[in-house]
Symmetry: C2
Subunit: 190 residues, 2 copies
């Protein structure tokens, strides 16, 4: 699989077919996650794999209620229309769990200690790319109440569900959202 093609063709999928994700593909996605770099090599991630339909429904319900609540407090119109059905539809949900204790020396700066989150985000990006490389669609989802999701997934104290990665065979045929030209984002200080 060509690296550049994987990078270019990865996109967020919000609609999935019924077909199950094969176990070996799922394992490769998780192995890819664990290859991400982390501050002081602390590897601050864990993965909770959810394929049980009842638990997916509870995750959907919690996220959908959170969405409705956010819509009420913000009035943001897209939140009113946004559907999180992919949480019931995706073959696998992988909760990416971060451990704030396993951060690097950034914790010594007052008000900081976010390095473990960045490492987990890098792990998620590896997962999305590894999914793409195997013909799977994926979605990086984080619109839920942290406490509620930690309870649902029975996390140990202080651990956080930093992302839920939805995996499945995509049937999302909506247009790919446009990316801004990177040239306008670069400043040279030479």
């Amino acid at each position: 699989m060509d690296f550049w093609q994987v990078l270019r063709e990865r996109r967020s999928s919000r609609q999935f077919k019924e077909a199950a994700v094969e176990e070996n593909k799922l394992i490769k996605v998780l192995e890819a996650a664990a290859l991400a770099p982390s501050p002081a090599n602390r590897q601050p991630w864990e993965f909770v794999v959810v394929r049980n339909q009842e638990l997916k429904m509870r995750i959907f319900d919690a996220s959908n209620k959170a969405r409705e609540h956010l819509f009420r407090v913000s009035g943001w119109r897209w939140l009113g229309k946004y559907r999180v059905d992919f949480l019931k539809q995706a073959s696998v949900l992988v909760a990416v769990v971060g451990d704030p204790e396993k951060t690097g020396a950034d914790r010594l700066f007052p008000g900081r200690g976010e390095g473990y989150q960045h490492a987990c985000a890098a792990a998620v990006q590896n997962m999305l790319l590894a999914a793409q490389a195997q013909g799977l669609g994926s979605l990086w989802f984080s619109l839920y109440d942290h406490k509620e999701m930690a309870d649902l997934l029975r996390l140990g104290q202080n651990k956080e569900v930093l992302a839920i990665v939805c995996l499945g065979y995509s049937m999302d045929d909506t247009p790919r959202p446009p990316k801004q030209d990177v040239q306008g984002k670069i400043r040279f200080m030479d």
Copy 2:
């Protein structure tokens, strides 16, 4: 370039040769960054490219002083021995700048609004992989005072240097640090 090989062979490099990174390779690294996903597609990243040796020296000095300070307050022995010479040695430093205004609906949860950081971290991971795919070494560095680095790089208000990505031809021949077995990090809730 094979995707899996790039993923497996990426590692942090802390020693670089003198050879300059070619402009076209640098641009491909930045294009890769901009292909990362972001909440509500806000693309909350900007890139400051530093190849000027004097500015690299100032970034080195600031980071080295921060390191010495953290060593004094923590007594962590590795911080006393850690050398940040890669900041003067790398051919290019790319500061990855995040804009907290460009986060998603996560900001509507009290105490949150970190999505832009996660997106920038995903962009960094794409950069590291794109460097690897082009035979470049890289390092994800974040051990500096945020305010000081923002001033050095003349950032607009509220923008943050979330990472400095060092790029160059690696001559780091230290052993690759071990990764924990991912199997021990997975919990199935099926």
